[in-house]
Amino acid sequence: MIQYRNVTVTGCGVTIIDGLDLELPDKGTAVILGPSGCGKTTLLRTTIREDEDEPDLEFSGQILFRGRDVREPGVVLTQLRQRVGLIMQRPVAFPGSALANVTFALKCTTNLSPDAIEVRAKHALIEVGLEPDHYQTQARSLSGGQLRRLSIARTIALEPEVLLMDEPSNGLDPLSVAKLERMIADLAQHRLVVVVTHDLALARRIADKVFFLWPYPKGCKLVESGTAAEVLDHPQCPETQLFVATAQKGAEAIEESGVILHDDDAEECLPRRIELLGESPASTKRR
């Protein structure tokens, strides 16, 4: 469905993503895993050409959606963004009611009648599990979990073929995360859902396929990919092994691994870079 070919993104003179090659499946849930600040969000943003709005970001390579380069001159940006929906890490409420939040994009981008727009918006709200009591509630007064669901409803009302979700479980309690997981499973039945996260437990539960990225000093690269069981239960690369072990044992795992983690804390607008120094478990990389 989506192929990334030799994708390189630089920002503020630093390489964020370095020659990434990655192919996402046609359907199901693909989880992109990696440490915070490694460029996962940037990868999603480049998919819908959001990087073009940032004067500091420079892109090279190709992103193919259904075989066509999304940056070809003939591709209409607004249509691309309706077909590939992006749900932000920190969704914001548009002014107005929850229903108006969902109808807004439909009014601007479709020729549907007002009645049809309302029907489609309500259907999207039902699909994400927002109760009819909330339809007329001011969107800004919704809770974090409700706002995230509203944000998903805004996007799925446009019936996108691909749904990109950036850290969807961020800031949600376990009950809300459970609801979210069920929703993602439902949505993934009819389309490709790409979830970017660093939450291993979430990835394990929802992923049909996992892609593990690592922020090397020269930029982010794909380290390992496979099913959740392959990548998370039997990681082959030292970076994945370290990441999985740290999620289970904390700092102890870093000490046991015998590597020195040279971690540049990401400054504003700069990517994070992690270098493994010293002895690291040698292994074959699975791609």
Binding site: Q82, F94, P95, A105, T155, L158
Partner: protein, 266 residues
């Protein structure tokens, strides 16, 4: 530090209070029934300020009408269109900032040469309002830029990510969210417009007759006040009355626009 802050605020407030009391004490003598609507008599020493109020409203209203779209255009250019070119955007913003500090008499001279002479409008309400619009545009643009800048970048990102065009995003999300700040910019400009004298003396003239159209000359309250104080022997008490009237009109306009802002933002 705290005492210094209290003291500085007290000095400003005391001065403002003293000015208000002075205006009321000296200006009330000229107030009478029909002062706001009556004709100007005896070169302004008697009668009301009806024609002056008419001219004031016409000049200020037209100036705001001319300046608002220009300023909104400038602000949209700086914040939205040039967002991809930060250096150019910075240059445009700094240019507007410099234009705010251009003396009004200089704008008046340009207006006189451009509109009164160039377009052959002579001393007229139209020439005055266009000159005033040129003076207000940088002030309003700077305020509008602040308003558009203050709208969360996330709102733009979310809207654009839904495939909504840049213009729909601007008109349906960004500008409504910036309404209170845009209105504050208009209020600021209104205050400047009603208080302006130098630029208008050179372009709209000093007439105490009721204007029959926008090609007639007309004096604003501030110009009328200046005229009474400087050119009419014995006109000072009525100048105080005009000043009091101007202060009252400004206060009423301020509250009306604040109310409008609250209604719009809810």
């Amino acid at each position: 530090m705290r005492i210094a802050c209290f003291l500085s605020t007290a000095i400003v407030l005391t001065f403002f209070l003293a000015m208000g009391i002075d205006l009321i004490v000296q200006g009330m003598s000229g107030f009478h029934l029909g002062y706001f609507f009556g004709p100007v008599l005896d070169s302004g020493r008697a009668g009301g300020i009806g024609p002056v109020i008419q001219s004031t409203f016409l000049i200020v209203f037209l100036a705001i009408m001319f300046a608002t779209p220009m300023s909104l255009g400038g602000a949209i250019l700086s914040v939205e269109i040039l967002a991809k070119y930060p250096r150019l955007s910075h240059f445009v913003r700094r240019t507007f900032d410099v234009m705010v500090s251009v003396p009004s008499i200089a704008v008046g001279l340009v207006g006189w040469s451009l509109f009164c002479q160039g377009l052959n409008l002579g001393f007229s309400i139209l020439a005055g309002s266009m000159t005033l619009a040129l003076m207000l545009a940088p002030i309003m643009t700077a305020a509008f830029i602040g308003g558009l800048d203050a709208v969360s970048k996330s709102i733009r990102r979310e809207s654009l990510a839904l495939g909504v065009s840049r213009w729909h995003t601007l008109w349906l999300q960004v500008i409504p969210a910036a309404w209170p700040a845009l209105l504050a910019g208009v209020m600021l400009a209104l205050g400047r417009a009603t208080a302006e004298t130098a630029a208008l003396i050179l372009t709209s003239g000093i007439s105490i007759h009721p204007p029959e159209g926008i090609l007639d000359p007309g004096a604003t309250l501030a110009v009328h006040m200046y005229y009474l104080a400087r050119n009419v022997p014995g006109g000072e008490p009525m100048a105080y009355s005009a000043a009091l009237a101007l202060l009252l009109i400004n206060i009423v306009l301020y509250f009306l626009l604040s109310r409008l802002g609250r209604i719009v933002s809810t």
